[in-house]
Amino acid sequence: MLSFIIRRLLQSLAVLFIMSFLIYALMGLMPGDPIDLMIQADPDLTPEDQARLRALYGLDQPLTTRYWNWLTAALQGDFGFSRLFAQPVGEILWPRMWNTVLLLGLSLILSLMIALPAGIIAATRPQSTLDNVINLSAFAGISIPPFWLAILLIILFSVTLGWLPAGGMGMGEDTGLWEQARFLILPVLALTLSRVGGTIRFVRASMMEALRQDYIRTARAKGLSRRRVLVAHALRNALIPVVTILALDMGMLVSGALITETIFGWLGMGKTIYDAIMGNDYNLALMGLMFATALTLLANLLADLTYAWLDPRIKYG
């Protein structure tokens, strides 16, 4: 088992390394450099200025050289400055990472709190009215375009009812916990509503699959209680695909909460990465994407380990 983990970690590091080059190359392939974007904002920029700035930012050097410079500096812990925010990359990313973790974490917990019971109930009573209601709601959540949902939530809760702020992140230390938390409610709700349906569907599907297995019938025949069979045996197996999906989601969410973050003005990783890519901020985009990549890889590893733990039939050698 330990050797498996070590091997996987090493593989992940290799992937991370390859990814860093790929991302750098991709950004290099993208048309236009930061200076081209500056010209648009400032027609006074003369050709000499452009050449001087390119040299200053190292943009006149070939891509591989630039990548090598970045890599050697990054390995020594120097991630450079963000061009968009004129601050060290770490100072931009750290607080945003926590904002994202807060948003995603709360949304994940809320999703599981809804999806696990709903999925299990639906799976144990297929085709019942309750199942149909759960299914319908799950599908409804999945089927609304996320930006649309976010705007509708704002119109309902902020504009019409005036209960919650329409976006932003609170004023700073001088306000209470509740005041701060109020800013979280709508984004968490929007994110959860558009994602929980998928989780419910997967819990339900895999739970039904598990309930059909022979050993479940055997366990029931042996006289184990319905509840015990459900939780100890069926759920354990049903969780395998659920864990996969959630693990895959985690990584994608880091960059994928972009819509929620944009509309609610939540300073998270998704928006930061998007802005960095659009604004040609190499240092920031790279570190942000590397973080998302690392998280995805880690989540995958955890998913595989959970597999092994949940399903003894899968062996790792």
């Binding site: 089927s143 996320p146 649309w148 599907a205 695909p241 998007y274 990549t293 995958n300």
Partner: protein
């Protein structure tokens, strides 16, 4: 060999003993019982017929879906414009029909291509294991982690004519449509691959696979005949969900300005364009929003029904 049958041997064997008739007919019989799925199927067929008949409707009505009439902006529903006109005075009904054509095409094409790629990779990885598995799964991890946005931007900048694509296509107004299909298919196969691999992994340890191997069946045959049918239901669930997701993704890309480009309409870009007019012309946002919503729902129910039909014992729970 009697052992084999008691496990989940290819579903076909069970079909044959359970009821009479071909597997397809059986499937259909089970599927029909799922009323929501049936309803969705009918709805989707009607919708597909309607949107693909858009040019006929256009010719019949004598209107032009791209013809701007600034005098008719936000026109109320009338005989000439059954659903009214949009912010450029174009007939909303026609725009919705053409938009549906684009959205459905993108969703179906990308999801199918992705499913095929994902299934092949997942099967190979799960079945052969070892180095191939490690390689393919790391590839999958890599693709999952691949940032969609720079890819899209790079793809938007590539000169398609240099790739040997005829100028007629590359410079057509529909070019953004092909780009999106290709891109989504290229990055969208990973969930299917992971699911198929997971299912294959637990499947290949089963006795009936071992038995088939012992009998000398080729790997390709085992994968196609014994494993594929048994992993089909997760593929179907994932793919139907994917069609919906891609229709949604297209709307999100439109929101970011990277989706289908005007004047080609899609439900996604129609909805995006309407978001700023939500207070003044809400119906412009309601119609495409509703159609996306209903279509994505219908695909989900369809997948649901198919899953129940494919899995002989799925519907036999306590319910009813």
């Amino acid at each position: 060999m009697t052992e084999v049958r008691s496990y989940d041997l290819a579903a076909g064997a069970t079909f044959a003993t359970e009821e009479s008739g071909s597997p397809a007919r059986l499937l259909w019989r089970r599927f029909r019982k799922h009323r929501l799925a049936m309803g969705s199927l009918i709805l989707l067929i009607v919708m597909a017929l309607a949107v693909f008949a858009a040019p006929l409707v256009e010719a019949w009505s004598g209107l032009d879906a791209n013809r701007v009439d600034l005098m008719a902006r936000f026109a109320a529903p009338s005989l000439e414009h059954p659903l009214g006109a949009d912010e450029l005075g174009r007939d909303l009904l026609l725009r919705l029909l053409y938009g549906g054509r684009v959205s459905l095409t993108v969703g179906l094409a990308a999801a199918l291509i992705a499913a095929v790629i994902g299934t092949i990779i997942g099967l190979a990885a799960g079945y052969f294991g070892g180095t191939l598995d490690a390689l393919l799964m790391r590839l999958t991890d890599g693709v999952i982690a691949l940032p969609l946005l720079p890819l899209l931007i790079v793809l938007a900048a590539i000169d398609l004519t240099q790739l040997g694509i005829p100028a007629e296509i590359a410079q057509s107004q529909e070019a953004s449509l092909y780009r999106i299909v290709v891109l989504v298919a290229l990055v969208g196969w990973t969930p299917v691959a992971r699911l198929v691999r997971g299912a294959t992994l637990s499947m290949k340890e089963r006795e009936f696979i071992r038995a088939a191997q012992a009998l000398g069946a080729s790997n390709l045959r085992i994968m196609a005949v014994h494993i594929l049918p048994n992993v089909a239901s997760p593929i179907i669930v994932a793919t139907t969900l994917a069609v919906g997701n891609i229709i949604l993704l297209e709307s999100v890309l439109s929101f970011l300005g990277l989706g289908i480009q005007p004047p080609v309409p899609s439900w996604g870009n129609m909805l995006t364009n309407a978001q700023e007019l939500m207070y003044s012309a809400p119906m412009l946002a309601v119609w495409p929003g509703l159609l996306i919503f209903v279509t994505v729902m219908a695909f989900n129910f369809l997948g649901d029904g198919l899953q129940d039909a494919l899995d002989p014992r799925a519907g036999q729970g306590q319910g009813y």
